[in-house]
């Protein structure tokens, strides 16, 4: 695949506090790549470095192989859709969308065509003479997307563009964004802290924490094979419990030996064991690897969210069948659904290891 953007060794501090730490990333042509991470982990900062609104302290940004690190935003062939829409309040919808084209001195007929095309693309035909403040949030965001896309950028940067919308509208807009992406066929760099949004939309997900890339890969690999406890915890709900890797294919949790499929750990190494709630099944007491008391059963629509206490650990289970609160049950797991991870030696272990 062709690389369109390359971040080399990017670092950025604000007031002496490091926000992005020696980050390297290659972004390919036409991919939908998502930067995912908790609030404050530096996603927007990274996007702003790509957009030209911040200059990195170290490192380079390459666009099509050319260094654009110090180029101002107006000279970059990429456009940003901001979280707060940021439409020009004094222009109507059509003038907002035409803003970039007018600056490029395109002729009138061309601009008109393009504006109409963009309005159709975002499902906003007939709104050309409305002022932004008379539109709903979702409509404003559509206009903001149209305003960026008419300029035919090679890369579109989107910083939590759906963050201010309610759940239903957000899901609708997610589908539309994917449709738009397919139609215009350009690179999308998408920022979100919503993991389900990332999993739904992306070709590739970059999970970030504390200015470091924790893991990258396609949504399925991120979800199924988290590489460390942070990713496992951040992507979907997980049971993360202390374990001891006795030898290859055998892990001990709460004093019980359980077969697994992982190899390559030191004998008796202390590890984090990660098990997804939907991979656990409730069985008769004595049949599974452990026994516990059902503490809570919550109906979630598609499944039951069940909590089972075993000693000082509370397991989260997603099950299609309810369980009786207060009853004793067994839990079973298939060996291939157990994820074993190295234990961090300190809280920012991931950071040390990456470097």
């Amino acid at each position: 695949m062709d690389t369109i953007l390359e971040l080399q060794n990017i670092s950025k501090s604000f007031d002496g506090k490091p926000i992005i730490k020696e980050l390297n990333l290659e972004i390919y042509k036409n991919e939908f790549i998502t930067l995912l991470g908790p609030s404050g982990c530096g996603k927007s900062t990274l996007l702003r470095i790509i957009g030209g609104f911040e200059t990195p302290d170290t490192g380079r940004v390459l666009f099509d192989g050319k260094d654009i690190t110090n180029l101002s935003p107006d000279k970059r062939r990429l456009h940003t859709v901001f979280q707060k829409y940021s439409l020009f309040p004094h222009y109507d919808v059509a003038d907002n969308i035409a803003f970039g084209l007018k600056l490029k001195k395109k002729d009138k007929a061309y601009i008109e065509d393009k504006v109409q095309y963009a309005l159709r693309l975002v499902n906003m035909e007939g709104f050309e003479h409305r002022k932004p403040n008379s539109l709903s949030g979702g409509q404003q965001q559509r206009v903001a997307i149209a305003r960026a896309i008419v300029n035919e950028p090679e890369v579109l940067l989107l910083d939590e563009p759906l963050g201010a919308l309610d759940l239903k509208l957000r899901q609708e807009m997610q589908r539309e964004l994917m449709k738009i992406k397919k139609e215009v066929g350009i690179t999308f760099i998408y920022v979100t802290h919503d993991q389900s949004e990332a999993l739904t939309m992306s070709d590739r997900i970059i999970v970030m924490n504390q200015g470091i890339i924790q893991q990258m890969g396609d949504p399925k690999s991120i979800y199924d094979e988290p590489q460390n406890a942070f990713v496992a915890d951040f992507i979907g709900e997980s049971n993360i419990i202390d374990g001891i890797m006795l030898r290859d294919y055998l892990v001990q949790i709460q004093g019980v030996d359980i077969p697994c499929v992982d190899i390559g750990f030191k004998p008796n190494e202390k590890v984090d064991v990660v098990i997804r709630p939907e991979d656990l099944s409730i069985v008769e007491p004595g049949r599974g690897f452990t026994i516990g008391r059902v503490m809570e059963v919550i109906y979630q629509g598609a499944y039951y969210d069940i909590r089972v206490a075993c000693g000082d650990f509370e397991w989260a289970i997603q099950s299609n069948n309810p369980a009786m609160p207060g009853s004793m049950v067994g839990l079973s797991i298939l060996p291939e659904n157990i994820q074993i991870m190295h234990k961090p030696r300190s809280s920012d272990e991931q950071i040390i290891e990456k470097n």
Binding site: H79, P89, N151
Partner: protein, 289 residues
Amino acid sequence: MNRRNRELLASPYFIWSIGFTVIPLIVILRYAFTTAGGTFTLENILAIGNAINRKAFLFSLEIALICTLLCVLLAYPLVMVVRRLHISRRAFMLFFLILPMWMNFILRLLAWQMILSSNGILNFILQAIGLKPLDIANTWAAIIIGVVYDYFPFMMLPIFNAIADIEEDVIEAAKDLGAGPLTVFTKVIFPLSIPGLKSGITIVFVPSMTSFVVADILGGGKLQLIGNIIEQEFTRSSNWNLGSGLSVALMVFVFISMAFTIKDDVVREEPELARVEGSDKPDRRERAA
């Protein structure tokens, strides 16, 4: 609190404005349209057209226009600089600019008189650095300096408020779409500052057109603004009818020019606002009722 009680809170203002605006206005109108003997006439109003009065009127208009224009030209660059300052420095800058307004108006003008007079501070400095002294005192230029100095904060503050309200994101969006610094200013910042500019113009143009104290002190009484003439009719000539007539003529002119400035807002923006509030925020009206 219901509507009635809230209206009651405004009553001191109503009493004030009836006592000090409406009644004096009626009195002035009565004087303006009558002769000393009390018969109806338009002569007092039309007197604005005679040679001396017309000259003073046009001179006032010129001073007011130049003053307003200079204030605008000075305000924008300053506002753009202050906007970029860190919040804490910004407050200090604004404080610094407003500080002179806390000093008495007349005292400020007297200070300028001393600075500008032929053997004043300005010429002292000019001579000290080997330049020719300037003869500014009692000229047109001195009056301009005085009015600009007096009214500048009233131009700058509303413009500053309008520009400070612009979201940083909106400006970044313009840059992102290819706008350089100048285009950002002409296409985004300036248009969005227009409401502030309009109130600035309203607050600066009218008083600088009608003032007479500045011309008295800095113009040395030689240059007559229309305000000076009106003042003299009341104080020295004691011709209240003529004084009132000229005031009314001036007032009509000011009203017309202001209607021109504010017209756009009334026509263009109000229906827009009404529609938004009517559709998206029905609850606000309910709460008010």
